[in-house]
């Protein structure tokens, strides 16, 4: 089927489109918006599939705004003929269909024939009409939709053609579907989606039964094993008891032997202790006797030696007594001489001291007099100084600097006055008969006044003169300076309380003089202050009183001393007394040396005599002590003969006791007492341990026996046998159940796989055609795939990476541009397959279908469209941008907006 031309009248915005001719292969219809491109596509589609007669929404939608009945004339090829179709769409619309060599058809006959030519149900309306050939008409805005449902809507013809092109591929039968569903359902009742058995399935029950039976078997085996362990425990305890029965008897015998030996050792040790006591007592007694004997002998020897040594000491002591007496007499004489010399020396000293006191008394009186005179002079100077300072204070308060400043001001004043005088007017009243009043001041004759400013002069009652001193501004300046100089001088003098500069100069001269005098007095005072003061005067007074008292006191000790009359006498007397003192001291020192020598000789003699006396006394005491000891010993131990007998008896007793002890120890060593204790402890310990083990084994055996004593309620061995048999039966049961379940799952899997394989085989021609178009877009390896599920096309996908059959992307996951390109490829492929039923050609209309494709991709799209045209399809593209399809080499139809509606114009694109 191929479109040849179309003409629209009163169809929406088209009043008369004129004849629009379609190229047999490629047509690009362009025009601006509102040129009526989509309306053209719609009108051609409605002419083919919508009944002319009707008043549906579709009929009303095609009504023109300016009135009239919509008409479409369509010329097309079908079944080798050219057909002319005319439809007037209205409630009473008409249809006519004519072709060469046949009678013209109209009305329902025409509609029916048209439907037959197009291979659709005749006389459609509403959605059914609009839905026809959806894969061939790509409406504006729908280019990016998945075209798979469209393929399904054409599946009758498509499937037939695919089956033809798929070779041996066959459709699954209803039985196939039913069996597949049956096994899928059966598998679903057994297994979850994750592949695990469902809990309510026979497989799960059989598996659970096996698990439970296994657990019961394990429990029964555990119980039996516990019994066996108990039996082993019982036998072990029995064996232990048998073994212990023998070893315990042996141990007890050994223990008895060692105990007897231990008792013997204990007895011997007691004997040893007693024998040792006896031997020690005898030895002690012997030692005591021997010691006493030796002491008696030693005492006798000592007394004898002391008495022999004491005889020479008596003679020596007598000689020493005599020498001592002589030394004592000599010492007493020397002491008397020394005392006399000392008295003479004391008297000489007192005399010298008195003479010296007199000298001091005279000196203290002279000093006191000197200081009293000094103090009077100081008082005079202080009075003078106070007077001078008072005079100075009474002078005006001006110093040399102040005087200098006043003098400078006076000079300035004189200069200013001189300048003023030079410029001022001197008014002198030489004579006047009437009163003269100048500047308000009365002047009499002889008075003069210097006028430095405008001054009115009244003379009498009638004459009034105004005198204006000359000089202009210079007079004013002189007058101002003079005033300022006066003021400054007055201020300076006023500050000092002076009236004139002369006073100031006088005051400064007097101040200078007074200052010089004050400094002289202060220097005198300062000089005297170093030697004269009230304190020094008081001290001198006190020293004088003390010197007088000292003289008085000393004079009392020497009544015969002649007091000197002057200081010089006193000094001479002092020198004489000093010489006499030196002589007396020398004599006293000699007498003291003699006395000391005699004293030392006496002390030495006394000391020697005392030492000799002490030695003799000590020896006498020693002899007495020794004699006392000797008497005591003899009293204790008797005289020499009985003492000798007792000593011999004691020696014999000691020897016998030692021999008895040695014998006892030898017997004890033979019994090895150090090992016996260890043996006894070891055997006691072994007996305890063995007894404990025996008790433990008896308990163990009793417990085991009690545990093994069955109550007859159950037979563990039979229980285990039953549990094992049940486990085996459960395992045996599980095998066919599991096999059955796996078989069902295998069937489900195989049916699913075979269905998919068959569908793949079936859809491969379509997929291959789609891929052929995709290669135009995406280059070699551009592949797509589709699935056929329940005889419906689905699962359109695009290879993620060209040339690979893995990693397909679903349609919805693609970008908008890629979606419309893939959809176009699918439409072309479907059209190509279906074209076999339409003389190898079908029109494919793209109305603004590639709005999302970039310019570069549009170039390759043209290649795809051209391929489709080359394969026999009629490609009609409606676009606002004809330049984008310049590479297609298509016939161009341009629609333009005119006053009479859009108008067509043909050409080449």
């Amino acid at each position: 089927m191929r479109l040849i031309s179309a003409r629209l009248r009163s169809y929406r915005i088209h009043r008369d489109s004129g004849t629009i001719v379609f190229d047999r292969r490629r047509t690009v219809i362009s025009g601006p918006n509102e040129a009526g491109k989509s309306t053209l596509a719609e009108a051609v589609h409605r002419a083919l599939f919508l009944k002319a007669k009707g008043d549906t929404a579709d009929h009303r939608a095609m009504q023109p705004a300016l009135g009239g009945v919509p008409e479409v004339d369509l010329t097309f090829e079908a079944r080798g003929k050219v057909w002319e179709l005319r439809k007037r769409f209205a409630r009473n619309g008409t249809t006519s269909l004519t072709t060469d060599g046949a009678a013209a058809l109209s009305g329902e006959a025409a509609e029916s024939e048209l439907a037959d030519l197009l291979g659709v149900e005749g006389g459609l309306s509403g959605k059914a009409a609009l839905g026809q050939w959806p894969h061939l008409w790509v409406w504006q805005g729908e280019s990016g939709n998945d075209p798979s449902p469209h393929a399904t809507s054409q599946h009758a013809g498509l499937l037939r053609r695919l089956q033809d092109s798929g070779g041996a591929a066959a459709m699954q039968s209803e039985r196939d579907s039913r069996l597949a569903a049956r096994f899928a359902a059966a598998s679903g009742t057994i297994f979850t989606l994750a592949g695990n058995p469902r809990t309510d399935s026979e497989l799960a029950r059989a598996t659970a039964a096996l698990t439970e039976a296994g657990a019961r078997q394990a429990a029964a085996a555990g119980k039996l094993e516990a019994n066996l362990r108990t039996v082993r425990d019982f036998e072990s305890a029995t064996a232990t008891l048998a073994e212990l029965g023998v070893s315990l008897e042996t141990l007890r015998r050994q223990h008895r032997d060692v105990s007897a030996r231990q008792e013997k050792i204990t007895a011997l040790r007691q004997r040893e202790t007693a024998g040792q006591g006896r031997a020690e007592t005898a030895a002690l007694r012997l030692t005591a006797l021997e010691t006493a004997e030796q002491r008696i002998l030693r005492l006798r020897d000592s007394i004898q030696a002391l008495e022999t040594a004491l005889a020479p000491d008596h003679a020596g002591a007598l000689a020493l007594t005599l020498a001592g007496d002589q030394a004592a007499a000599h010492s007493a004489a020397a002491a008397t001489a020394h005392e006399s010399a000392e008295r003479a020396r004391e008297t000489a000293r007192q005399r010298r001291d008195l003479a010296v006191a007199w000298v001091a008394r005279f000196e203290a009186g002279a000093r006191l007099d000197e200081l009293s005179a000094g103090m009077a002079r100081v008082e005079e100077l202080n009075a003078e100084l106070a007077a001078l300072r008072r005079q100075s204070a009474e002078l005006p308060n001006v110093d040399a600097a102040g005087l200098q400043r006043i003098q400078q001001l006076e000079t300035a004043q004189s200069s200013a006055r001189a300048a003023l005088q030079a410029m001022a007017t001197r008014l002198e009243v030489v004579s006047a008969d009437q009163a003269v009043e100048v500047g308000g001041a009365r002047m009499t004759a002889g008075m003069h006044q210097v006028l430095t400013e405008d001054t009115e002069i009244l003379y009498g009652a009638d004459l009034k003169l105004r005198l204006r001193p000359g000089g202009g501004t210079g007079l004013d300046e002189a007058r101002r300076k003079c005033g300022a100089a006066d003021a400054a001088l007055r201020e300076a003098l006023g500050a000092c309380g002076l009236a004139t500069g002369g006073e100031a100069a006088l005051a400064v001269a007097r101040r200078t003089d007074l200052a010089a005098r004050i400094r002289a007095v202060e220097a005198g005072l300062e000089s005297m202050a170093r030697s004269v003061s009230a304190k020094a005067l008081a001290a001198a007074g006190e020293a004088h009183i003390a010197a007088r008292a000292d003289v008085s006191r000393r004079s009392g000790q020497l009544p015969d001393f002649a007091a000197p009359g002057s200081p010089e006498e006193a000094t001479a007397l002092a020198r004489t007394a000093a010489r006499q003192l030196e002589d007396a001291e020398s004599a006293a020192q000699s007498a003291r040396a003699v006395r000391d020598a005699a004293s030392r000789a006496l002390a030495e003699a006394v000391k020697t005599l005392e030492a000799r006396t002490r030695t003799m006394q000590a020896r006498n005491r020693e002899i007495s002590d020794l004699q006392a000891q000797l008497r005591l010993l003899l009293d204790q131990h008797g005289a020499d003969e009985p003492r000798a007998l007792a000593l011999a008896r004691s020696r014999e007793e000691s020897r016998a006791a030692a021999e008895s002890l040695t014998a006892c120890r030898s017997e004890l060593a033979d019994l090895q007492p150090h090992l016996a204790a260890g043996d006894l402890e070891r055997l006691s310990r072994a007996l305890d341990q063995s007894t404990a083990r025996k008790n433990e084994a008896e308990i163990r055996r009793a417990v085991a026996r009690d545990s093994l004593r069955s109550d007859g309620a159950e037979d563990p061995e039979a229980e285990l046998a039953l549990a094992a048999a049940q486990a085996a039966a459960a395992a045996e049961h599980l095998i066919p159940v599991r096999r059955q379940a796996q078989a069902v799952r295998l069937l489900d899997e195989l049916f699913t796989a075979e269905q998919r394989a068959l569908a793949d085989q079936f859809t491969r021609p379509l997929a291959d055609r789609i891929s052929g178009y995709l290669e135009c877009l995406f280059g070699p390896g551009g592949r797509a795939s589709m699935m056929l599920e329940d005889n419906r096309f689905t699962g359109l996908r695009l290879a993620a990476r060209p040339g690979q059959d893995t990693g397909f992307l679903s349609f919805s996951a693609l970008s908008g541009g890629t979606r419309e390109q893939l959809a176009a490829a699918v439409r072309l492929a479907v059209a190509e397959i279906l074209a076999a039923d339409h003389d190898g050609c079908l029109p494919v209309v793209f109305d603004d279908a590639f709005t999302n494709s970039d310019p570069e991709r549009l170039l390759t799209l043209q290649r795809m469209l051209d391929l489709a045209a080359g394969r026999g399809l009629q490609i009609v593209v409606l676009t606002c941008h004809p330049a984008a399809y310049a590479g297609l080499g298509a016939a161009a139809v341009t629609l333009s907006r005119g006053t009479d509606g859009p108008a067509a114009e043909s050409g080449e694109v």
């Binding site: 066959a170 459709m171 699954q172 039968s173 039985r175 196939d176 069996l179 597949a180 049956r182 096994f183 019994n227 108990t230 039996v231 019982f234 036998e235 029995t238 055996r701 085991a704 026996r705 545990s707 093994l708 004593r709 069955s710 109550d711 007859g712 309620a713 159950e714 037979d715 563990p716 061995e717 039979a718 229980e719 046998a721 039953l722 549990a723 094992a724 048999a725 049940q726 085996a728 039966a729 066919p736 096999r739 059955q740 796996q742 078989a743 069902v744 295998l746 069937l747 195989l750 049916f751 075979e754 269905q755 394989a757 068959l758």
Partner: protein, 393 residues
């Protein structure tokens, strides 16, 4: 004076055996009950054979701690025998610590119901009016030493009457004969309990009554295993003939006269069949029918199947098995038969042109089903399921 004595030799009653392999509780109870019922038949045989007493060579009970119910029933049955019963403990009911022989309950029941029962727990001669017994009791499940070793000492026999026959009673294995060698249920007697009868002085004894081996077996002219009086397992080998007691007539110094008395009632059968074609199923059914006759609830069958069967034949076999399961006290089935659609069935499944997916699935399953591993077995089941589903339409 020489004394001749007639007595009955039996062993391995194994009362209280659980028969856990029988899943049906009622059938299990029937088999257990039969072990008690045989005691009455033993008593009858003893009386009919003129026996003076009965010797039980161990394993009266299946375990050393049977339930009170089992003990009471056993005492009652022994009491009904009406003549002295002398027994030793075997490895199953050994006389170890806590064994039933020590239990007060057993003693009370025995005194009340079976005063004729005497358990010989000590290895020492027991002189009876007609004979001297030499018991070799097992006092633990597994004795590491020969229980008959005490008889190697000549002093044991000193002072015993010369005219009375001497009967040794022992329980254990002799040269490969023993309970462990005859068991396909996984039971083991454990190591030990080996009897070396060659080391005994042949002149010192006249008959050795043995227990442990469940088949009836004459070891020599003077030594025999009586076997269990009622079979309790699918015994191996043709020569293994359980289900008897031995009537023995013995005298001192002479060979005993031993005769076998059948006591068994239940039939324990073994059968095997390899299927190489579906048609063999019919002959197999005939064979089993002849084996079982018209009996019901009296037989146990261990059936070992191998080979392969088609789906239809397999379905038929399953029906036969269902029938036998009902009739038999136990059907122990070791089924290694490969059940899968036959070549024709498989070909029909694979060539379903109208159902292309089903055909392709069948082809893949047929390929997977080749082999002996678990995956192949699963594939065969799947093929069977697919076949059945297709048959359902």
């Amino acid at each position: 004076m020489t004394v001749t004595v007639r007595f009955l030799h039996t062993a391995d009653w194994q009362l209280g055996k659980p028969f856990a392999g029988i899943q049906d509780p009622e059938k299990r109870a029937l088999v257990r009950q039969e072990r008690l019922a045989v005691l009455d038949r033993i008593g009858q045989a003893a009386r009919e054979s003129g026996a003076s007493f009965i010797v039980v060579a161990g394993d009266l009970f299946d375990s050393a701690s049977p339930t009170r119910s089992t003990v009471a029933a056993a005492c009652s049955a022994i009491g009904r025998m009406g003549l002295p019963v002398y027994a030793i403990p075997g490895n199953h009911d050994h006389g170890g610590p806590g064994s039933l022989w020590e239990q007060d309950f057993f003693r009370r029941e025995c005194a009340a119901l079976a005063p004729n029962f005497q358990l010989l727990l000590k290895p020492e001669p027991v002189e009876l009016p007609q004979a001297v017994l030499f018991p070799c009791p097992l006092l633990r499940r597994s004795e590491s030493t020969d229980p008959t070793a005490w008889l190697r000492d000549g002093e044991v026999f000193a002072g015993l009457p010369e005219g009375k026959p001497r009967i040794v009673i022992a329980h254990g294995s002799v040269q490969g004969f023993g309970s462990a060698a005859d068991d396909d249920e996984g039971e083991t007697g454990g190591p030990g309990n080996l009897l070396d009868l060659d080391r005994l002085n042949p002149a010192a004894w006249d008959y050795i009554a043995l227990g442990d081996w469940h088949g009836t077996k004459l070891l020599s002219a003077r030594a025999a295993y009586s076997g269990t009086p009622e079979p309790d397992r699918f015994s191996k080998g043709e020569s293994n003939e359980p289900g008897h007691v031995l009537a023995v007539e013995a005298e001192r110094g002479g060979p005993p006269v031993i005769s076998r008395i059948r006591t068994a009632r239940l039939g324990w059968h073994r059968a095997a069949r390899h299927f190489s074609e579906d048609a063999a199923l019919e002959s197999f059914q005939t064979e089993i029918a002849e084996l079982l006759g018209q009996r019901g609830h009296q037989d146990l069958l261990r059936l070992e199947l191998s080979g392969s069967l088609g789906l239809a034949a397999a379905s038929e076999l399953e029906k036969m098995l269902d029938s036998w399961r009902a009739r038999l006290l136990r059907l122990k089935l070791l089924d290694r038969t490969r059940v899968a659609p036959g070549p024709e069935e498989t070909a029909r499944l694979m060539s379903r042109a109208e159902d292309p997916v089903t055909g392709r699935v069948a082809a893949r399953l047929a390929a997977l089903a080749q082999g002996e591993d678990e995956n192949a077995a699963v594939a065969r089941v799947a093929l069977r399921e697919l076949h059945a589903a297709c048959m359902d339409g």
